[in-house]
Subunit: 345 residues, 2 copies
Amino acid sequence: MPETTPRNDAAAPTLDEVAAAAGVSRSTASRALNGGLRVSPSAQAAVDEAALRLGYVPNRAARSLVTRRTDSIALIIPEPDERLLSDAFIGGTLRGVGDALARTDLQLVLLLSRKNETADRIARYLRGGHVDGAVITSHHEGDELERVVAASSIPAVFVGRPFDAPRELIYTDVDNVAGARLAVEHLVARGRTRIAHIAGPQDMTAGVDRVKGWRDALSDHGLPADALVHAQFTTASGETAAAELLAAHPDVDGIFAASDTIAVGALRALAAAGRSVPGDVAIVGYDDLDAAQASTPPLTTLHNPVVELAATAVEQLLRLIDSEPGDERVTSIVFPPRLVVRGTT
Amino acid sequence: MPETTPRNDAAAPTLDEVAAAAGVSRSTASRALNGGLRVSPSAQAAVDEAALRLGYVPNRAARSLVTRRTDSIALIIPEPDERLLSDAFIGGTLRGVGDALARTDLQLVLLLSRKNETADRIARYLRGGHVDGAVITSHHEGDELERVVAASSIPAVFVGRPFDAPRELIYTDVDNVAGARLAVEHLVARGRTRIAHIAGPQDMTAGVDRVKGWRDALSDHGLPADALVHAQFTTASGETAAAELLAAHPDVDGIFAASDTIAVGALRALAAAGRSVPGDVAIVGYDDLDAAQASTPPLTTLHNPVVELAATAVEQLLRLIDSEPGDERVTSIVFPPRLVVRGTT
DNA sequence: CTGTTAGCGCTTTCAC
DNA sequence: GTGAAAGCGCTAACAG
């Protein structure tokens, strides 16, 4: 391979060139390349051969211009979220999206929304018709994403239930209320009676729902639901909150943490306070991402099926995109919770 | 706000409509919208006003068709990588890319390459001219990404030094050899003389370089470099490898792990073996992502500036995109290592 | 089954 | 400084 030979494939071949090489018209070539409806076998073969030989790749912009389809979907991620940086949440989401997109030839456009211009830029982008649909993940109450998405009239699916669903927004989620109940039930079954909760951010439905489940289950058992502190979904925040909790409620013998990262922080606070786990205090976390297994001791936790959540969201979005408005096939999907028992309870 | 009023902004306004509303020709409108060169102040104002009022958003496909620019870049992530799922690596990368892209109005297209069709699909996409450039992250020796990228003649920057850089591929990286040396020096300074290494995957330059740094530093001190085991960048794998290490070299008093996730696994193996940390065995990890702080005890580690690495890669890419071939301003950038001392050494 | 004919929305010479 | 005209590469009627 001569090092200095100039590339002769500089310009990408156009459909015209493929058609010429195949000895057919451009339209026939186009048909052949797009499913081959109403194309003679010979023409089809000629076009296929020419396209392959020339290394033809259709120009997406040109196609998009006429089809009014972009063959791409957006994944919207509000960047300020701590989780983006701190846990494996985003990795799982990408994997799910990737899985679901694998069979299609759709492209994934990432919209990292910065704190300031969040809604505005996203709105412009969505209204600009640059994507055929959008999946929105880890959205917060104040971020206007729900409003923007609803107003854009673009097909969209949320990962995680939106705060208010004014016009039947579609979403995928895990049943966080039921999950939290499971956590508490588990602690109760282990004889715990003074069960606290370190809640996550209350501007996300996951945070709110987990509080509710905790409260409900406690109420069912006639146990007090007053030991409640708040934290972000990070280890550092969890540690602080747990210390605060121990100070205010020294008699706590069980903790349900709204995330594994928080639980890991609690583990450290407990160690610092000289309390044994699960001897003095039993802990249950939430998420079952890497942190749960990596912690010492490994965390009992509720599985958060992030990969499936994302994959299902994309599947629903795809369905939504080529469905008539009002089609009742496309619905929100809520996964049941699943408790994973390890060493902390 | 009437709930049932039909949207009248259904179709996105075109440049023609903006021009008409502003009372100028389409070309003048176009000029005004694109920097306003050779446009009278009055015309400029009229166009600006009309665009704003109509909520005009240029059609990217149409523009791209004529400018031969897509105004988007690709982020290529080989999916099989365990890290994608297990640690905060990808989150940091996205954040860096997002930061660098924030000022531009470039779009980010994500290319998750699946194990099988990796090279092929990416190659087609790159050659199709769908993006103006690409950033490639966490690539492995066998994945052909380097070849494909080089062959595509598209501007590209690697995050992490490529395996062989046949035609001066541009990359950003941290000096992993120097980092590993620092780790060993730190252990030596603490009086350790039997220093092992749990290596990462050897099909990534980071893995190879860290082994080299470890070996070099040991050699400098006249210490043996025979206690070497291999692992993936995961906690589970790290635990297994560490157990293996302890069995083969019971006299080890210091461990340099190729990642924090591995180090956390080692911590568990050590605990299982009844060895105290850092009393019996001191440990140094690598990455300084969330795992390092969350572990018990917190890990002494080498900071891996993933956010900066990604941001710098994008900046170099942008520079590369609008530079003449052969421009010597655009170079690879290697960050110096930084040791972060915590509780394990 | 095939080719001809129109554009999709935009930027860009090129005269004026 | 401005508008007319051409055309980017492709698909989609529409006749044949």
